[in-house]
Point group: C2
Chain length 300, copies 2
């Protein structure tokens, strides 16, 4: 079943302690849809400028990403982000942001996307996330991402959004900021009390925590020695998770937990190179091999 | 099978963001032996001064901790540590340290402890850890802890120790310091290359990682909402782990992994109150109940 994703499409410049890349393909919706593509086709809704290289669209199309919702706006420029990772590779500083098209226009949803059942609202202004949500009345599972910026400047809209979504994924620091709770278990439950039926707290290299009505659990990250560039790990995690759920066409607790594991593993590949470089080289079978290893790792 | 532990016995003063305790029972060998006591009896070797309250000895004796190796030195004072936790409850600063008896005397090993098969060398000067090791020629499994201080000032002795032990447990920051590797997976393997047959890297609230000859895995921490005082969590982890191994009288890969899980769970109780307060209130059955929950948490 196709999955709808709205989010950012970006040209990133990334600096790590040992290497750097300029103007590489990035953005939450890109990492999300590419990660989802191992499981199902993803319908992408996002805006780019006329500086957008056509080969990026082709790359997405080669996987099961439907780019009919990718609006190329003439006279505009694509969102650009540049950042630098600290030696621990878990913390980063943003060097430059050029929002350009980002958040400037209301999302334009192709007619054939409006009947989507599985919807992911990538990180962005909650008022725009709400506008996307208004266009998918048949959605059965809606999961959103957010970030500190919106918690700080659009808290009311965010709280309004929380009442209308099934799941929320956010970083550990964002969960603490949102709730004022320093203990992540308490923070996760407190976020859930704001509306989402389930909450996934991403902890970077330490994995993710799940908070549902009846269960709380932790999924450790897959221990890879090759962390080259963590950019997009969180979006790949969400993409793998939602991709698997859309493929299974269900989201009962066991399917959800398995989906979190798939998200974890796709993200573990993403960080092994810049941009989509590592993901471009793997197939579903590679994810499944890592899944076997991951299951073995967690059994005793 | 009894387990030998050498380490510190302390009177701690602990300040958390919301509460504080003065002169409470602490020290690596105390947390270790009490945690081990759910699985097997522990033989404790440590020095204290004549300010040592007799009721602490009784408390240890009430569990299966053999205190014949606890030397009360007259005219001396017990090791004292005071520290303050930051709001995240994972980082702390040491406010005061009075070494007193600590490291002043060579360990005195009661004759009946010298045939120990399972040995834990708590954090302390590696030259003293080596002296303990010299007194247990029949040891089958020797695991040691260490800390940044010894990595910085007794590196040669530490490297000598590494050649003679089976396992090493240390914190994530210590593994990075020791190896210069920022990626924990690489750091763990690099520590193992220094000598220990296996290495356990403790990540506090994020769990622990295991590095063996043929396997690498992660054990997430048990997600407790009630983190009151993390002091002793690492030592309880090691105690639960070694206690289970000594009980099982083996340390094949599966038993080791199960032991890491038990260590994780005992530590999750330790942090739920100051000093040994929480551990005093639980029995093996409570650990087993949490183990059922933990296994369910990790299955999908």
């Amino acid at each position: 079943m196709p999955l709808l994703v709205w989010g950012s499409v970006a040209l990133d410049s990334v600096e790590t302690p040992t290497d750097k890349r300029d103007n590489v393909l990035g953005g939450s919706a890109v990492f999300f849809s590419y990660a989802a593509s191992y499981f199902t086709s993803a319908n992408l809704v996002a805006d780019v400028g006329d500086d957008w290289p056509a080969e990026h669209t082709q790359l997405l199309e080669k996987r099961k990403v439907d780019t009919r919702g990718l609006n190329v706006l003439s006279g505009e420029k694509t969102f650009r982000w540049s950042g630098k990772y600290l030696p621990n590779m878990n913390d980063r500083e943003t060097l430059e942001v050029h929002l350009n098209v980002l958040g400037k226009y209301d999302p334009v949803m192709p007619e054939e996307y409006r009947r989507s059942r599985f919807v992911f609202l990538g990180n962005g202004s909650p008022s725009i996330q709400l506008k996307v949500l208004d266009q998918v009345p048949e959605a059965k599972l809606v999961v959103a991402d957010t970030m500190d910026l919106w918690i700080n400047i659009q808290r009311d809209e965010l709280l309004q959004l929380f009442k209308r979504i099934d799941g929320l994924v956010l970083n550990d620091s964002e969960a603490k900021l949102l709730t004022g709770e320093e203990n992540l278990v308490r923070a996760g439950h407190a976020v859930r009390a704001l509306g989402p039926k389930f909450v996934v707290v991403k902890k970077g290299e330490h994995g993710a925590m799940f908070f549902g009505e009846n269960e709380t659990y932790v999924m450790p990250a897959y221990p890879t020695p090759d962390v080259i560039d963590p950019t997009g790990a969180g979006d790949s995690f969400a993409g793998g998770m939602m991709g698997y759920l859309a493929e299974q066409q269900k989201f009962d607790p066991l399917t959800l937990k398995t989906a979190l594991a798939y998200g974890t593993l796709v993200a573990s590949f993403t960080v092994e190179d810049f941009s989509l470089e590592r993901l471009k080289k793997i197939e579903r079978a590679d994810v499944e091999r890592r899944m076997q290893d991951y299951r073995r790792m967690l059994s005793f």
